[in-house]
Subunit: 332 residues, 2 copies
Amino acid sequence: MTIELQSPLDMHVHFRQDAMLRNVAPLTAKHFAGAVVMPNLVSPIDSLERLLWYTDQVKQATEGELFDPYMTLFFRDYTREELVAAKPQIIGIKLYPAGATTNSDRGVSQIHTMFGVLALMEELDIPLLVHGESNGFVMDREKEFQVVYREIASTFPKLRIVMEHITTAEAIGLLDEYSNLYATVTPHHLLLTLDDVVGGLMDPHLFCKPIAKRPEDRQALLTAALNAHPKLMHGSDSAPHPITSKECPGCAAGIFTAPIILSLLAELFEKHNALDKLQSFVSNNAVRIYRLSPPPKTVVLTKSPMVIPANYHGVVPMWAGKTLPWSIADFG
Amino acid sequence: MTIELQSPLDMHVHFRQDAMLRNVAPLTAKHFAGAVVMPNLVSPIDSLERLLWYTDQVKQATEGELFDPYMTLFFRDYTREELVAAKPQIIGIKLYPAGATTNSDRGVSQIHTMFGVLALMEELDIPLLVHGESNGFVMDREKEFQVVYREIASTFPKLRIVMEHITTAEAIGLLDEYSNLYATVTPHHLLLTLDDVVGGLMDPHLFCKPIAKRPEDRQALLTAALNAHPKLMHGSDSAPHPITSKECPGCAAGIFTAPIILSLLAELFEKHNALDKLQSFVSNNAVRIYRLSPPPKTVVLTKSPMVIPANYHGVVPMWAGKTLPWSIADFG
């Protein structure tokens, strides 16, 4: 028994840089035809020069694979000239509200101060990707950020806005309210709730931002994904940290899933009799929303068990040691 | 500047056994005139024989201090004869709903099956101490358990019931509804919300059961404590785990506060201009509710900074490395 996926895409991934980049990027490039690469390095990718440097780094790390990196810039007060020059090199610009996620201390805190750039992005048709969390109580941050999504979506009706890694039923509701709002959702938010993070023993390897929410939130996300909601895309938010940054007093936020994403999704969609929707969720929706032409790449999953390794180059994946029923077959 | 406390009490503490007992019990015995010792060892204290053994262990570990251990039994289907024999040796019986907290797998799961024992406890005037959490979603467990408190409190109106380590505004509300319901609250639940656990970096040393809740919950607990609500007692739930069980993939629940409790409370009550209520919160309320005669022991805090040590015998305390303004003075 096999599942064939055509040009699967990961519309939100963290590759980091240097040795980590060289270790993790090939794992994504092997399984996916393309991926949206986040710009939040310790020193963010916020200039054409740094963008070209990082693009080159990513291409070197994924050399030999049929794989398109879709690069992003870190939001700041760009000029029109900068945006025009960057546009051919990027899929969009990533906005981090100040302080809400890893390496986003330089993110913006005031939404109105960004309207100039947003107007230019709308005019130039550059998508806006948003980490949509307020600085409020951890379980309320995404909900509280809705007011910002509403304001941007209605002020810039032609700006394509992607709510990244949504975690709440409310965010699914927003998709249907504004035609220019889209979203990515991670496999782990389809599988986890806060109970998995702190409900039994505390698991640092299931700790991420935004944090996994309530059962009813997970259900809303899952229902939308299993029905291949046309405005919802797969974006793993796979976020590697060395084990020493996870199993420690100040555990970094991020779940590493890159090498097991398609196995996780195959099991989940099969369990819910929705395998016929998997192609749209992992590729077609993103191709349509972003108007992409990913390299033609057939990825085959076979129903043979895989044991999730304890770590990949010192990065512990989600559910290390667990057995998944679907594996990625070798492919040419 | 000093604060003098008369016979401060910790109405909920975990001493464990063996080396851990010998390491942590003296830290409590030094600062407190008495403490309610939890019975959830790996093999619970659920017989008179084990109770006498454990009492002896605790007394050995705290020898030389002016300190009364108030012992508890682990709830099970005791006979009248067992209860009559145990009564002089215990302050109450601790009920753990099945599976909700450390070493409580042997706790009960059906409340009605316990009515026989509860009736005997009411008749014999043995207090019931409860870890009140359902097996539901982690943020809802205490709220969902209210129905059990209501049923027990109304069915056994003369049974003194202590809701242990309450964490929600709803639990404070219950105190005023039933005359036979009392509660303990921990210093850490007066200080923390879920934000401190997983809102920034994840902190295993602030992970406990019940988990810290929402800001409005903390505010309700704090208001009641600062006003020395007459049915609310200090119970630290200080719960030591070796560092290897905390900074790891399956982090055990428990915050270790024993050596810093009074410093934490002094700072908190001073900040809110409620130092005049501290004596009632840390001693008088418990003396009245439990009808205790703790040994006369004056504990003096001085306003001289203490840096919280990195660990005590390999157990990391809450807020290790932080400086607190109040220290315990030496006393005779």
